[in-house]
Symmetry: C2
């Protein structure tokens, strides 16, 4: 599946950090960085860009802020082909806390928003462009957005300079035909923009949906090591790289960092396919109730979880 | 995805038994049976039909033989809508050990064969038809078969009375486009036969490949509880049932038996997505080397396993 426009973004630290409040050791983040570099991955999303006033450092690790001091301590000035990305959530970052790109190790800022926040996302993304960053917009939770609202959101995004827009399956509730439909819709709305895909694995569709997106000409591909990400996690980057068979990528460094750093984390952090995540995915719901359940004493009582869901009769 | 012709076959005991030599307790098998019955599953494959001379009962459990005495002890005479299937491997069963269907609890015998064994498979399947069984042929490991050999095998199968033929992704090495290609090829070879799909999850494609097969008009769907099966396992039946949204199926009994009987087994039996299985799948190899590795002391040294594979440079 060689197509030179394809770029892979490893989101292990950013999306995986949702499972441990970004409490990764410097050694861990450095190991992921080195693996991405050696594997020829195009972008590494190293965390969220947030204002210090939005979260407490007592609760969350440094990768929730992506302060340049922390970044440089771990990856130096990153004079490498691997680009560094940080995600910005609307309302969690004050634009004045975003330094000019020339002063930062960060190359790209990805603005994540819900459809009703598109105006704010466009404004923030335009600001980041003016600051010298690569940008994109990740429009989240579209599986819950009605057609008219989605059309309006796409129209607003279509008018801005942001060159890349992501199809995001936030709840892991999409099958390949949903992905196909959305890619074609986004393509029509943005004939000149690059499209990206960010999938979740609640119904074990993340890899397949990413392949479907590739076939539909999506060129920015999000993935994580061993699928580490919120809840059921993401498209596993090692499966994606094995699929792409692109000479610019190497699989072995990814297998190595999985063995040494990611797989051991699975003993304590329960991402991946588990029944509560299947249930929220199949019901097209945010995984938060499943995450809370998995963390509780009754985490393995899947039947009780299913019955606790408001609309579970839809599945029963 | 309602289509009345669709039938689901739970293969948990048969394919899952490859991971523990079919050493399941009667209680376990009865619980799976009851769950399938309550969930409205169409067929339960309860094991292999083998001759006693082919294996020792000291090594393998009763579900390697599917003797009617063992079956009736656990599921009685099965006067229910749930049909019972057993798989027969060429060379492991003497036809004289297959009783007439009227004397057996077994409803269906599925003959599994490699492409070079098709003549024997056809003969055995025809014999089973004469004994009164439903039958089908599962042509294994087709990802390793060249076009001329496959065409010959399909031609031979096309001439026999067997009403159902399975597309089998034995090594979990197929993407959806491979499934689509094979379904269309089999459909052309067998315009009047029912087609089935049996997928493995080495590259997390089992569920997606099953959905692709459904879209291509495949009506017999193999799946297992929590994907329990050899190596990376199968399409998880609970995800498939949630997808089908067919009023004849119920999800809750499956979630219940997973919670009580299947999920606890995961502590000791390592089926599911693991890096060694990814590597054999991506290399289109039998999982036996990965199974052996996972069982060894160096099971978590994924890099060494990758380097031990003959053609690993293809992936490196």
């Amino acid at each position: 599946m060689y197509r030179k426009e394809i770029k892979v973004m490893d989101c292990t630290v950013r999306d995986g950090g949702l499972m441990n409040k970004w409490q990764f050791s410097d050694e861990f983040v450095r190991a992921v960085y080195k693996a991405c570099l050696e594997a020829g991955i195009d972008y590494m999303e190293i965390g969220y860009k947030s204002s210090e006033s939005a979260f407490s450092r007592d609760e969350v690790g440094p990768w929730k802020f992506c302060d340049d001091k922390d970044l440089r301590r771990v990856i130096g000035d990153n004079n490498t082909p691997l680009k560094i990305s940080a995600m910005a959530d609307i309302g969690r970052i004050d634009p004045q806390d975003i330094p000019p790109a020339k002063d930062s190790v960060i190359d790209m800022i990805r603005v994540a928003c819900y459809s009703h926040q598109v105006d704010k996302a466009v404004a923030l993304a335009e600001y980041c462009i003016d600051q010298g960053y690569e940008t994109c917009i990740n429009l989240m939770a579209v599986s819950k957005v009605n057609e008219m609202d989605l059309d309006q959101a796409l129209e607003d995004i279509g008018k801005c300079r942001v060159p890349t827009v992501y199809i995001v399956d936030s709840f892991g509730s999409m099958y390949s035909e949903n992905i196909q439909h959305l890619v074609q819709k986004y393509r029509k709305a943005f004939p000149d923009k690059t499209l990206g895909i960010h999938a979740h694995n609640n119904m074990q569709m993340a890899m397949a949906n990413t392949v479907t997106a590739i076939i539909e000409d999506v060129n920015m591909l999000d993935a994580t090591l061993l699928g580490m990400g919120r809840g059921a996690g993401n498209c596993p980057v090692e499966i994606l790289i094995a699929f792409l068979k692109n000479p610019k990528y190497r699989l072995l460094p990814l297998i190595d960092v999985i063995q040494e750093h990611i797989h051991p984390l699975q003993k304590d952090i329960k991402w991946g396919y588990h029944i509560p995540y299947l249930i929220t995915g199949a019901l097209n719901e945010h995984p938060r109730s499943a995450l809370k359940w998995m963390d509780s004493e009754q985490g393995e009582d899947f039947v009780a979880f299913m019955k606790s869901m408001h609309d579970y009769e839809l599945l029963e």
